[in-house]
Amino acid sequence: MKPTAPGLYVHVPFCTVRCSYCDFHVAGYRAAVAERYVDALLEELAALEGEGFRPRTIFIGGGTPSVLPPDAWGRLLRFLGRAFGGDDLEEWTVEANPGTIDREKAEIAREAGVDRISTGAQTFSAEGLQVLGREHGPEVVAGAHALLREAGFERLSLDLIIGWPGQTAAAVDEDLRRVREIDPGHVSLYHLSYEEGTALDRQRRAGRVEPLPDPEVITLARRALSGLREAGYARYEVSNLCRSGEESLHNLNYWLRGGYRGVGSGAANFAGGARWRNLADVGAYIRAGGRPERVDVEEIGAVGALEERLFLSLRLERGLDIAEFEERAGASLSAICGDAIDELVGDGLLVRGTDSLRATERGFEVLDAVILKLWDGCDWEEARIDGDTGPDDASPAGASPRLDR
């Protein structure tokens, strides 16, 4: 198996209610709009199929893909299965929110070829769900997982959010207990952040919610992490854990700097040395009928590619493959950023082995600052760069983008 291969991301930007912390590209759900949106998705997907694009992984994310009405849901999944469901496809994930997935939709998905479902539980505390502005109650999640298992899904993932205002150690323990009970193969553990423009951030500014101080969040995060480890999960990325062999191939591909195409409003793409997104505007997307406007088109360049590799790989438990990096850079890692690495190693934030450079437990907690330090300390003059800037897989010829500027 090649470490990286192109992925396909499909964005379904609809939610019935907006969670208080959410700053994703999301629109309010209206059945009629969703139907037309799926029409446009199918057109964009058809064009991609026509290019000869064949993904190794598919990920349908949102928003809440499972909010789609059964008919649209069926049309989308069946199309994907027919177009891309060949032997190349190794993993196909759909995000589902507990409460919007039912037996009918689960069976449609199963039949189409979906083999992995990721659910947003966030927490099992009623109080937590309320601050987070989640629609579902604590009981629904277990029900949804049971239903999915019954429908034949073996690969299940569950998201947890850590550090919500008012969260206690007891609440973390309760979440851990529920996770053990449900027993998904994969768990994502995200720190709550207060993004500008979200309801939660407005409440914070208005003094109506009191964020937990950072050290407390870290204490809770450590508790959650060690609880999950005790339950047999291992961290493979800064915020993702799984049982052996249960990594999300699709997400791993991002971090290994593999290429991917994204369809749908606001979807991000990386192919042929460039990154771009579709314009994030549901109305415009529908009107564009499968040819959405590309925005933020960016040629990454040789240095940019190395920088990305550095910061993406440090998110992984396995870290940066030094030999591979040096080969691409045409210079030794030490020559490029030895001083910064020494400092960070000295501060106990990175470990440098013979083969890899990795974050320590503590390093993961302050990873952004570690990466900034490293990024800032890089001297690319040293690198002898050969100009290979594209994704690390050789994307099929047909998938190279025509950049509509």
Partner: protein, 609 residues
């Protein structure tokens, strides 16, 4: 009013300044006079019209003196040329008042009828008396319900000897008294005396830089006349120029045929280099000019110094030209290059006080668009070395090793405080805390007292004004002048960040308060320096002895959890932005210190204690 009007004979020219304590209404009274004489129309009018700088309007204070020519027909039916100079009230800008008075024969001494005589009323009135001017007391703001004109008249009599009948009751707000003021100026203020048919002698009183027309020089013509087409000579600089235009302020720049003895106006002469101009220089004609220059101004001696550095080190040269340009318009500050380990290349700048410092910094930032980092202000100290050498230092960094020092002497001032008598006790306690020695107590009226102290300048400029206000419920006012250098028990307080001394954070303090100051500074730094990936020890030390310590804990959490496909570009941009932000910080050892930190330690109040 324009060059078309027939020239007005010298005996019908009146030059006068408006002087007062801060906020007693000088600029508002000037507005009133401008309107009344038709110099400006109601349509052109805005409040405190002569406060042209945005900064002046925003802060509601006058920073620079401003001259305006008005034409007025008096009760005798004759037309007079009235040249008014509005002056600033704040003590820092006192030299502007002296300079204005030098161009005048009279002064309107404005006193707020509710507040009464305050510290700068006294200081400015004595300046006018020294210049031998005709002083017309004006009781302003009599429209206020709190006005107490009779008591204030009594204060005027006991302080300066003005008879009650001599002062004019006025309101710059309602216009009451305006005509009486104009008439009194016409009858009491003598005309200027300089002869017109002699070689030109004009003194340069100010200037500003105009991108298109070069340096525009403001002059007060003492003798002779000046016109467009004249070839002129700046006697001290020995630079020669051809005059393109002469004009007056009315209040905007307005060309005239000639500036005659006794008049104030401007010269445009394509002066491209600012080095050709020096305030106080004498202008004469190149041919058949005067041989003796006028007595120059004595430039005020800056007493407060701070470092000014460009936030971005590559802007050093831009900062230099910004300082040079501003200096044309304010020759009372000084600057010379200095370097700092923490801040790189910058300038040590001297000012007349803290407000002057603040205003200058803001003007530079506005007029040049540069971002500045400023270090804590310090006064000058006189150092007597063991080997007998005596010299002054303008920066704590220049203090020699303790083993070479015999004495450190600090500048002392004579401080005049005027307070209502009920606050004498509180004021005395404050002055004791500030190491002041009481020298004199005088009652201006049964309820108002003037206390004269000798006190260290350092104590008077830093963190004093607010305390005086709170000790006297807002009524106390202060004026001070330098008196002498006196030996003091002074030490240099060094700040160490991450174990490294930060030169730009050193300050001089009296030993008795060094512990407290040290702790205050560390507390401030702790607030402004962001957490790093490691713990940062902060220390305050005198010599090798650490007198206070504190830690900035290591960053506990900084991680963006979610990073799905689309986030990679966003994440890159975020990193690039943060990297830019880091560039603007100053690095000391491994610690990045934000620019604010250098300013934050300026504020030394007791917050948090």
């Amino acid at each position: 009013m324009s060059d078309a009007t027939p020239p007005i004979p010298q005996e019908r020219i009146r030059n006068f300044s408006i002087i007062a304590h801060i906020d007693h209404g000088k600029s508002t009274l000037a507005d009133r006079l401008l309107l009344r004489t038709g110099t400006i129309t109601e349509r052109e009018f805005r409040n405190q019209m002569l406060d042209e700088m945005d900064l002046e309007q925003e802060r509601g204070i006058t920073i620079k003196a401003k001259a305006v020519r008005m034409i007025h027909t008096a009760e005798d039916g004759l037309t007079y040329q009235l040249n008014l100079i509005d002056t600033p009230g704040h003590v820092d800008f006192n030299y502007e008042v002296s300079r204005s008075l030098a161009a005048c024969q009279g002064a309107l001494l404005v006193v707020d009828a509710a507040q009464g005589i305050e510290a700068q009323t006294v200081a400015n009135a004595f300046l006018a008396i020294e210049h031998d001017l005709e002083i017309i007391p004006v009781l302003n703001k009599i429209d206020l319900p709190a006005a107490r004109p009779d008591e204030v008249k009594e204060e005027l009599q006991s302080t300066f000897g003005f008879r009650p009948g001599e002062s004019i009751a006025a309101s710059a707000k309602t216009g009451v008294g305006t005509d009486e003021i104009l008439e009194t100026v016409v009858t009491l203020v003598p005309p200027p005396t300089g002869a017109r048919d002699v070689p030109l002698r004009a003194s340069i009183i100010d200037s500003h830089y105009d991108t298109y027309r070069g340096v525009i020089v403001y002059v007060c013509v003492k003798e002779g006349r000046l016109r467009a087409g004249d070839e002129i000579l700046f006697m001290q600089k020995q630079s020669k120029h051809l005059v393109d235009e002469v004009g007056i302020f009315s209040p905007g720049m307005k060309p005239v045929d000639a500036l005659e003895a006794g008049e104030v106006g401007y010269i445009v002469a394509s002066i491209k280099t600012i080095h050709d101009v020096s305030i106080g220089d004498t202008v004469t004609t190149r041919v058949a000019g005067a041989t003796e220059p006028l007595p120059g101004f004595k430039n005020p001696q800056p007493m407060v110094f701070c470092g000014m550095y460009p936030a971005d080190n590559t802007d050093f040269e831009s900062l230099r030209s910004a300082l040079e340009r501003l200096w044309l318009n304010d020759s009372s500050f000084t600057f010379q290059p200095e370097t700092s380990d923490a801040l790189g290349f910058g300038f040590r700048c001297g000012f007349l006080g803290l407000l002057h410092m603040e205003i200058t910094q803001e003007r530079i930032e506005r007029e040049s668009g540069l971002d500045l980092v400023q270090t804590a202000p310090t006064v000058t100290y006189e150092i007597l070395r063991k080997d007998g050498e005596l010299f002054k230092i303008e920066s704590p960094a220049d203090l020699p090793d303790a083993m070479h020092i015999e004495e450190i002497r600090e500048p002392m001032v004579t401080a005049n405080l005027i307070v209502p008598s009920e606050f004498i006790g509180a004021t005395m306690r404050l002055m004791e805390e500030k190491r002041g020695d009481l020298q004199k107590t005088e009652y201006l009226s049964p309820t108002r007292v003037q206390l004269t102290y000798e006190a260290p300048l350092q104590e008077i400029i830093i963190d004093f004004y607010d305390k005086l206000k709170s000790s006297t419920r807002g009524y106390g006012t202060l004026d001070y002048q330098f008196s002498r250098y006196r030996k003091g028990d002074l030490v240099k307080l060094n700040i160490l960040v991450g174990g490294d001394p930060v030169d730009a954070l050193s300050i001089m303090v009296h030993r008795s308060v060094s512990d407290r100051r040290g702790r205050q500074m560390l507390r401030r730094l702790k607030k402004v320096i962001p957490q790093h990936l490691f713990q940062i020890p902060l220390q305050a030390a005198i010599g090798a002895k650490v007198i206070a310590r504190m830690n900035i804990g290591a960053l506990s959490k900084n991680v963006t959890a979610k990073c799905y496909g689309g986030d990679i570009s966003r994440k890159r941009k975020l990193l690039e932005k943060q990297k830019e932000g880091k560039k603007r910080m100053k690095q000391v050892g491994r610690v990045n210190i934000p620019q604010d930190a250098f300013m934050a330690v300026l504020r030394l109040d007791d917050e948090g204690e």
